[in-house]
Amino acid sequence: MKPWVGNIFSGKVPIAPLVVFRIVFGGMMAISTIRFMLKGWVAELYIQPRVFFPFYGFEWVKPLSGIGMYFVFGLVLVTSLMVMVGWRYRLAAALFFLSFTYIELIDKTNYLNHYYFVSLVSFLMIFMPAGRHFSVDAWRKPSSTKLIVPVWSVNLLKFQLAVVYVFAGIAKLNGDWLLQAMPLKIWLPAKSHLPLIGPLLEEEWVAYAMSWGGAAYDLFIVFFLLNSRTRPVAYFFVIFFHALTALLFPAIGMFPFIMILSTLIFFPPAFHENVLNKISRIFRIKWPSEGSERQDNYRLAPVYKWFMVTFVCWQLLMPWRYLLYPAPLFWREEGYRFSWRVMLMEKAGYVSFHVNDPATGRMGQIANHDYLTPQQEKMVATQPDMILQFAHFLAVELKNQGLTDPEIRAESWVTLNGRRSRPFVDPTVNLVHQQESFLPKTWILPAE
């Protein structure tokens, strides 16, 4: 095996970056969860809806009833705080991952790339020795303290962040983004009331500059963060870029702050040790030195090694799976999710479901809002897999109402990046007889 490979698996590094990441991540998750609950979204998104849209293969994931969902969110909150302070760290990280991911799997309506990021990071953190220092665990059991950890743990986090950025950058390398400055040409003028920068946002060249600047930022920022000479400037750009997106697009919520703080992992151990020392001094805590419990020389068990390799490969391949489907991706959205396509297109649609009862020849249309929340209505209108799921839901609903073999067809119009809306799915296809699968959907109409 080449020496550098050995180094990736068995190299050593001070624990400080991992500890800071643990505190920051746990803290931000706690804040996000409290914010989510205060906004009333638990009830709005997970209790009130009549229909849920689970992911393909995860149809067995169902929301708990009423108070049960609050319990799950409570668990997310408590475990994120436990991760932050490092109390029963590994158990907390595992429970956090499970409860958070469970919530995300309930309804793809609420899918966000940054939730996916949180699931992945929290999964990785289960396997990391991040609770061995500067933690309740280390305080209660000094012998468990570790000040030196395997380098793969920190590198895996850097890798995960690199994946987010680089793939977000690659996703921007398309004609609409680069040559039409779409969707920024729509989104930026909508912010032209902002003080100072407002008037600029209506200028077309600004949309182009920000499209290209954004793509370049995503593609290259990680490499500048990795290099110690460019890192300070790069981090300034991280703050600038994410602050700008937070200002322009308040609807993206916590994501900018999560990225600003997560990228601190790229700073050297000395930086993180400094931070921890300062905190220790303020609170007058003296942490135990390296504990007696020395179990290994930080060599990775083979099973972990292969697990790591698999995780990395999966991360590198997932965003490319769209190539297995017919183009264009933005129209068809097959292989769109779980690929770091963030703030990439302006897509809106309108879908009506036509019901035909062959037994009686009666025909009518569904009032979507009788069944769907506004957010669900919006998502169903532009995403073929959700159109199909809703049609199947309606079939069951109508059978319960006494129809023997209802036919359901969708008439839908979608506008993408400022193009005139056009029919999205084949209105002659009875969706009841179409099954969800990983195969391309034959009933999606061409984009132009």
Binding site: W205, A348, Y350, V355, Q375, A381, S421
Partner: protein, 380 residues
Amino acid sequence: MRLGEYKKWAPVVLMLAGMMVTSCGEDDNGPNAGDNFDQKGFLEHVGSSLIVPAYQELEQKSGILRDKISSFIASPESSTLEEAKTALFEARIAWQYCSPYQFGPAEESGLVSNLNIFPADRSKIERNIENGSYNLGTLANNDAKGFAALEYLLYGKDVTSGEVIQGFADQPQRATYLQNVAELIIATAAEVYTAWSPDGGNYLGEFTSDGALGADAGSSLGKLVNALNLSFERNTRDAKIGIPAGIRSLGITIPEATEAYYAGYSLELALANVDAYKKLFLGQTREGVKGLGFDDYLKARKAATTSGSELPLDEAINAQFDAVLGFIDQIENPLDEQIRTDNSRVQQVFAQMQQLAVLLKTDMASALGVVISYQDNDGD
């Protein structure tokens, strides 16, 4: 360039190409480049020349309606009954021009619930009158009040005017009920007008303030576009046409669900209502004076022309408004009779309205950067 034609292998080449495009682009755009749209001016015009006058008119007509009903109750005879009916019709027309604006004060006051839920529930109204104890403020009584309830009481079902008048004479509580419904209408209409009026709550000031600019969920534009879409879909397309025509009930028609089932002028109301949306789109006052409208907004945003044969979006929407009005013109009053005899033409009106809803809700909202969501949420 088409979507999906990626050149991921050569970002640098593309970047250089793009810089050239960018630098050339400014010269090519001619007079439209940097054509800033005066959003504040647009909101001021819509607010002060369309919305406030519409609510003012509604308040005035509702006041007249209440007075005419009082006169009728004081002297129940044919002439006062006719005057009350005329006042009802005029107030209902005034309402049609308020219906796109169900946000802010109108939402807080429950204007639609108190004024225009239809069809009215006849038996509930009769039960209320019989019992004498009722609270018109409750949700349960939404279909026992408002214009539709007044209409039922003034026109009756399958009875002559004489019998209607006799009914009030025989049953004093009936007159009280009529009066109470009319009072609730004027009270709510006045509340909303006062809230909008610069001399009252001055919601107009809030609507046009700098803090309410932009296109986000809480902005005035966001509220206006969301409200007009919600109202057009549910109160216009579905309630006036779709539901009676059986679109929402697997083709089983419900002629009695038409807006003016007893009075027989459902189509006048529908035409006025669509006209209200069209005038809002064009930024026209009731008298037809043109100011900044959504059409100008779309022009400034150079909205959507992909293939050469396509109309610009503002013209396409305008044409679709005319199509809807044209198809309504081709059907005849009373609408319930039309539904019974030749429902396919009513269904055509629905189809045209559906097409208009698509343009307003997807193309227009998308081009203006307005997110259609009646729900607060994070996105990415």
